[in-house]
Each structure stands twice: as structure tokens, then as C-alpha cells.
């Protein structure tokens, strides 16, 4: 068999991505049809920049969803004779099997590894950003609203973490010796409590006057959330091994948990600062004074009067921050921290590929371009959202 030409390579790749194209077309068709009823999300379709960004982001989301269909090879299997194979190189002994984007220095398929890498990013980055936002909001609201000593203390802590160079912090948190001591898990114990606190306070402050319903919902949050909390944190064989394996709902490998915790830890102080700044601005408004006069509790005012009015900048920052989290995940992989060396995530793949960069370009440049396109998509999306939300 001959090697494929570039036209054939792109043709085959486009074919390989067919579920993604279908899903994208469906999403766009439905959204454009009903865009007047979809609020801010619908308005996104009025801005070309926002639409391109959203398309790029959804491309990678769908790629991660349908990764099983898209991948042509197993991302971890090494095939003999395919070491550093050039893009479009046919596989010996297998009719019609090609390494579409070539092989890496361990003879694995670069294309399949890129697709498998998107799964890791799409799994970790948005969730980590949500957690960082929960932490930042739960601490930033009272800091901005009450001010005083609480504000001084929390701001000092946030600035302390922000003054650390990110890479040094990663090295300190993710090296095997520190992981062995259980420190990242203990940080996780604290950080993962915040979503529970946030939801409980959110429900409690709203439904304070309907104790029956409130007790039901808070109980549900405590039971389901508590169970998820425990199963997220406990992993057998480490310092925190609380649940028996049968009751463990989420099987999160220990090293991914640590990467997750460190990314949340780095992001939370910035979110805290943004929320605090927004609250300082919004709390001087008349509607806040009105609800104070009505005799509403402080947490009701913070969560149901101030927070909804701060949503514009927070949504924009949320998109940007997912992109930044993706960059951080790549940084961790680039320095070989946290994730295992054969993991197909983009940072680790770039790190592995850069050693032979001047001779074989493809193993490093494919994940590099993938990461860049996802972050670019998120930034364009944020830009589109900012423009559209300013038009109100």
C-alpha cells in the first residue's frame, strides 16, 4: 500500500469525524431556529465571532463524546514498524489501516491520541472551573458584602496563593513525595466542601419561609452531594480511603484527582477576587438597599439579589477560565507532572514529541494545534458573549 497524500489524509479525517459534523449541524440548526427564545445563548448566533467560537468548542465537546467511534486505533497500543511514521503511512499487514497523522516515538497513532486527549480535557477543565467558581463565589460574596476583618483575611490568603508562580506551586503540590503525604487530597477535602455549602446556603436562603420543602431539598443535597463528595475523594490505597469500593460512585484515578485539585486551587483565588470586586460595586445599588429594608437575610441578598446581577461578567470569565484551565492542564502535562507519562493528554504528548521536534514535527504539533483551537474557541466565545451581553 502506498502512503496517503495530504488530500486523502484530510478526506479520511473528515470522514472519521462524521458523528461530530452531524451533531454540530443539528445543534446549529436547532439553535438558529429557536434563537429568539433562548436568551443570551440565542443572541450568540447574532455574532459571527461568538458563533465561530461556539462551533470550535462544541467540535471538541462532541469529539470527546464520540471518541470511541472517531479513533482509528487504540491510543496506547504500539504497532511495530510505525515508529515516527509520517502522516498517512499505511500499517503493514492490515488492509486499509493508516496512521492518519503518523506515529509517535513509541509507534502509537497520533490521530487517535489527539482524540483521546480531548476526552481528558473535556472531562477535567469545565468541572474544575465549576468547582473553582463555587469556591470563589462562596468566599467572595461574604468578603465583599461584609468587608472588614473577614475581607482582609480572605484577600490576604488569595493574594498569597496568587503571588506563587503557578509552575512552582504545581511542582510543590504534584511531586510524588508530596502526593504520598496526602496533602493534595487534604486540600481537596476542603475545596470540594464548597459546592455543598454553596448549594445548601442557596436553597436555605430562598426557601427559608417554606421549611418543609427546604428540609427536603437540603436533605437531598446533603445525601446525594455527600455521597458524591466521599466517592470523589476516597480512592483505595491512599490516605483517604473512606468508602468501600462497592459504594464508590465515581471512579476517579488518584492522579487525575490530584491534577483536578491543583487546578481548582490555582483558579479559585482569581475567581474570588473577581466576585469580591463585583459585590463591592453591586452592593451600593438601590435594589440591595430595598431588600435590606425589607428585612431580608444577608445570604438571601448575596445569593439572590447580588449574584444574579453579577452574572454577565461571571459568564464571560467562566468561558475564559475554562480556556485558562486547559492551558494549565497542558502545562502540567508539559512538565510531566501528575498524569502518567503514557497518558494521551495534550500537554504530555507535546512534552513527549518535543524531544524529536527538529526531525519529526507531527507528534508534537498535532496536540499543540488541538489545544490552541480549543482555547481559541473558548476565547472567541467569551468575546462574543461579552459583546452580546453589553448590547442589553
Amino acid at each position: 500500500m502506498d502512503a496517503l497524500s495530504w488530500g486523502q489524509i484530510f478526506g479520511r479525517m473528515a470522514w472519521q469525524f462524521w458523528p461530530v459534523w452531524m451533531a454540530l449541524i443539528l445543534t446549529f440548526a436547532v439553535s438558529v431556529r429557536f434563537k429568539r427564545r433562548l436568551g443570551l445563548y440565542g443572541k450568540l448566533y447574532d455574532s459571527p465571532v461568538g458563533m465561530i467560537g461556539f462551533g470550535l468548542v462544541m467540535f471538541w465537546v462532541f469529539t470527546a463524546l464520540f471518541s470511541g467511534v472517531i479513533m482509528t486505533h487504540d491510543p496506547l497500543t504500539q504497532v511495530s514498524g510505525m515508529k515516527n511514521a509520517l502522516p498517512g503511512f499505511p500499517q503493514k499487514g492490515a488492509e486499509g489501516a493508516y496512521y492518519l497523522l503518523g506515529g509517535d516515538n513509541l509507534a502509537r497513532d497520533v490521530f487517535s491520541r489527539m482524540v483521546a486527549g480531548s476526552v481528558l480535557v473535556i472531562q477535567i477543565a469545565p468541572m474544575a472551573t465549576v468547582f473553582a467558581f463555587m469556591v470563589g463565589i462562596t468566599l467572595g460574596l461574604p468578603a465583599g458584602y461584609y468587608g472588614g476583618k473577614l475581607d482582609t483575611g480572605l484577600s490576604f490568603l488569595a493574594n498569597l496563593i496568587l503571588a506563587f508562580p503557578v509552575i512552582l506551586l504545581f511542582y510543590l503540590l504534584v511531586t510524588p513525595e508530596i502526593v504520598q503525604s496526602g496533602l493534595p487530597q487534604y486540600i481537596g477535602v476542603v475545596l470540594f466542601l464548597f459546592p455543598l455549602i454553596f448549594l445548601t446556603v442557596l436553597i436555605n436562603s430562598r426557601l427559608y419561609v417554606k421549611p418543609g420543602l427546604r428540609n427536603l431539598l437540603v436533605g437531598l443535597v446533603a445525601v446525594i452531594g455527600g455521597w458524591l463528595y466521599l466517592s470523589l475523594l476516597s480512592s483505595p490505597g491512599t490516605r483517604i480511603d473512606l468508602l468501600p469500593p462497592q459504594a464508590d460512585a465515581l471512579e476517579m484515578p488518584g492522579n487525575i484527582l490530584i491534577v483536578f485539585v491543583s487546578v481548582v486551587f490555582v483558579n479559585a483565588p482569581t475567581v474570588f477576587r473577581i466576585v469580591r470586586g463585583l459585590v463591592l460595586d453591586i452592593k451600593t445599588r438601590d435594589y440591595v438597599a430595598a431588600s435590606q429594608t425589607r428585612g431580608e437575610g444577608p445570604w438571601y441578598i448575596m445569593l439572590w439579589e447580588i449574584l444574579p446581577n453579577a452574572r454577565g461578567p461571571l459568564i464571560v470569565d467562566f468561558c475564559l477560565r475554562i480556556g485558562y484551565t486547559t492551558i494549565l492542564l497542558g502545562t502540567l502535562g508539559f512538565f510531566g507532572l501528575g498524569l502518567s507519562p503514557e497518558s494521551p493528554d495534550w500537554g504530555s504528548t507535546i512534552n513527549a514529541g518535543r524531544r524529536l521536534l527538529s526531525i519529526f514535527v507531527h507528534p508534537a504539533i498535532v496536540p499543540a494545534l488541538a489545544l490552541m483551537s480549543l482555547v481559541l474557541g473558548l476565547n472567541l466565545l467569551a468575546d462574543g458573549l461579552r459583546e452580546e451581553s453589553l448590547k442589553d
Binding site: 465571532v49 490576604f156 493574594n159 498569597l160 496568587l162 503571588a163 506563587f164 508562580p165 503557578v166 509552575i167 512552582l168 511542582y171 510543590l172 511531586t175 513525595e177 508530596i178 504520598q180 503525604s181 496533602l183 480556556g323 492551558i327 497542558g330 502545562t331 508539559f334 512538565f335 500537554g347 507535546i350 512534552n351 514529541g353 518535543r354 521536534l357 527538529s358 526531525i359 519529526f360 514535527v361 508534537a364 504539533i365 499543540a368 494545534l369 489545544l371 490552541m372 482555547v375 481559541l376 473558548l378 476565547n379 472567541l380 468575546d383
Partner: protein, 361 residues
């Protein structure tokens, strides 16, 4: 102003103390000390041997005491065994009576690197110099380029030029250094792909590649266009987008101000309005942003120095962290934290000087 300065400096000192203590604590956790003992003495030590080594070399005492020693507030440990006195401040072959009582950062003694086998202060000074040169060139490229892009796109908001430059700056902020570095190497410094093979075929470049993929030679045989362009471009590219967007925002705000309209109505030409009326006011905000970029540059420097194998400060930090070189890592973090806090202070003060509407009480 003096009260403000004193308060800021006190907070800075407190922050620096907290941060160095965190680094000290984390690098001195028992598993790390065990690794240090095994790498310093012998890798096949028994657990009892490790413990006695840790005890003998003064790592066995409470963390706070040792942190005090490192700072130079508490007298260094001494130990007399078989009539020979060893201690923290007693160098090999030095008389115990002649050694100073305290030796720590306050006395100017930064310790000894276990990886490079050199005094830490010497390593840091040397490597900071190398990074300083890199930073200087980054600034020379980055600041004018980003200000120019920002002013050009903010001059006429919504024009085609503005759209194009905005997309460029978004793209550049979306490209972390390890991505742009790889792409730039593939384009300009690869013998098989990109521009270099074509240029070499045409006979326009004498070497095999347009630029060099590593910057190691820049330290030995001097900086040339050939070995230094790619690292500088890689770092600058990430910063350009951000500063340009800030400049653009500030420029568009200034361009809608009353005095700009007045000047235009008086009949001043557009070029003159931009150069004489708008520019000076529009450059206040970017100044802060540029100053606050330094901590980000530090991050970029670590990545780029690793990628291009340039033995500067960032490279040293990675070496120290991955080998748990405690004293070198502490010195690195002190430098990093100092840079971050100083730039914050300078940007605050500079902002007050540039913008007379703000007064610090």
C-alpha cells in the same frame, strides 16, 4: 503616601514570610527528606540509616526552628561527635570556634545547592543575569508591538483593521508558550518541515535552518539573531495579545471622550488628534498591565527556558523543584515572590503618578 508605602511594604514582608514558610514546609516533608538523604549519602540505605542521617545533619528538629535557622534568626545547630564539632554554619575543614553563630538569608548566606554543588547565591546571580537578558529582549519586542497593535485597533472602533487585529490578539492570548514554541520551531527551525528546507534550497540561508531550535549556545558563544529569535518571539507572542487588548480598550474609551470630539470639531486632523490628544491619556492603563505582566512572563520564562534549553532562572527553578534541592528552590521562590510583589507595588505607585485623578490616602 509614606504611610501607604510602609503599609504595602509590611504586607509584602508578611506575604514573603508566609510563602517561604510554605515552600520550606513542603520541601521538608518527611518523604522529601528521605529522598534527600538517599541521594546525598547512598541510595541503598536502610530506614534506620536514613533516620540517623537526617538526625546527624540537623533535619530532625522542628520545622519552625529550622525555618528560623534558614532565615538567620536562630543560631545554627552544632553537634560534637568524637571531639569533632560539625554544624550548620561550619564549613568542611573550618574551625568550629571561628564559624559565625548564625548563618541564614539575613546574613546573606543562601546555602548550598545539592544538585549543582555550588553556593546558591552564585547560581541564582548567574542564572538571573541570563534570564534578565532574555526578558530585556522580550520587553524590547513586546511592548512597542503590543502598544502599536492596541492603538491602531482602538483608533477606529469596529473598523476592518480593528476586527483583524482583535482576532490576532485573541489568537495570541489563546496560544500558551509551549504551543507557540512548538509551532515556531516547526515553522522556522525544523530541517524537514516549514520554511527552512525551502529557504535552504533557494540558497537564501547558509545554514540548514532559518533559526535554531535551542538557545543553549546563546550563553556560551553570545546572543545572535539565529539562536535567540525563537525564544524571544515565543514569550512575547503570549503577552502581546493581552497588552494589546488592554490598550485597545483604553484607546476606544479615550476616543469617545468629549475633548477628542472638540478637537476634531475644531478641525484638527485625525492623525494629530490620535498622536497629540489621545495617545498620552490612553497609555496610562497599559502601563499597569505591562507591569503586572512580569509575573506572567516569569511563568513563560520557565516554559520557554525548558523548551529551548536555555540555562536561566526558569530552567534552574525546574531543576531545583524536580530534584528537591531545598535551599536552591527556596532561593528561587524568594526571587519569584519578590518579583511579583515588587511589580504590584511599582504598578500601584506608577498609576498614581500617571493619573493625577487618583490620590492614595
Amino acid at each position: 503616601m509614606p504611610v501607604f508605602l510602609i503599609r504595602r511594604i509590611l504586607t509584602m514582608v508578611l506575604t514573603a514570610l508566609c510563602l517561604t514558610f510554605v515552600v520550606f514546609y513542603l520541601t521538608n516533608l518527611p518523604p522529601n527528606l528521605e529522598k534527600l538523604a538517599k541521594s546525598e549519602a547512598s541510595s541503598r540505605m536502610s530506614d534506620a540509616d536514613v533516620e540517623s542521617w537526617i538526625e546527624r545533619n540537623g533535619y530532625g528538629r522542628p520545622v519552625l526552628v529550622r525555618y528560623g535557622e534558614w532565615l538567620g534568626l536562630i543560631p545554627g545547630w552544632t553537634r560534637t561527635e568524637d571531639g569533632v564539632t560539625t554544624g550548620r554554619c561550619i564549613g568542611p575543614g573550618q574551625d568550629a570556634a571561628a564559624a559565625p553563630l548564625r548563618c541564614g538569608v539575613l546574613q546573606g548566606d543562601w546555602g548550598f545547592s545539592t544538585v549543582f554543588k555550588q553556593p546558591v547565591s552564585q547560581i541564582i546571580a548567574e542564572r538571573l543575569g541570563a534570564t534578565g537578558v532574555l526578558m530585556l529582549w522580550v520587553m524590547i519586542v513586546m511592548v512597542p508591538a503590543s502598544l502599536l497593535i492596541g492603538v491602531l485597533s482602538g483608533m477606529r472602533e469596529g473598523s476592518r483593521l480593528d476586527r483583524g487585529l482583535s482576532v490576532f490578539s485573541i489568537a495570541s492570548t489563546a496560544t500558551p508558550e509551549y504551543v507557540s514554541g512548538v509551532v515556531l520551531i516547526a515553522l522556522f527551525a525544523s530541517t524537514s518541515t516549514g520554511l527552512s528546507p525551502w529557504l535552504a534550497e533557494q540558497g537564501w540561508i547558509s545554514g540548514k535552518t532559518l533559526f535554531m531550535g535551542t538557545a543553549t549556545s546563546a550563553l556560551d558563544s553570545g546572543i545572535t539573531f539565529w539562536n535567540f529569535s525563537l525564544p524571544v518571539m515565543t514569550i512575547a507572542l503570549y503577552g502581546i495579545g493581552y497588552i494589546a487588548r488592554m490598550t485597545r480598550a483604553s484607546m476606544t474609551e479615550v476616543m469617545t471622550a468629549q475633548y477628542i470630539r472638540t478637537a476634531r470639531l475644531k478641525g484638527v486632523s485625525f492623525g494629530n488628534v490620535v498622536m497629540k490628544h489621545a495617545l498620552r491619556n490612553a497609555l496610562i492603563a497599559p502601563f499597569t498591565v505591562i507591569m503586572l505582566q512580569f509575573p506572567w512572563l516569569l511563568n513563560g520564562v520557565v516554559i520557554v527556558e525548558t523548551l529551548f534549553n536555555y540555562k536561566g532562572f526558569g530552567w534552574t527553578l525546574v531543576q531545583a523543584a524536580s530534584n528537591n534541592d531545598i535551599e536552591l528552590l527556596l532561593a528561587c521562590s524568594v526571587v519569584a515572590v519578590f518579583v511579583v510583589l515588587m511589580t504590584q507595588l511599582i504598578s500601584d505607585i506608577g498609576y498614581v503618578f500617571l493619573n493625577p485623578r487618583i490620590r492614595v490616602s
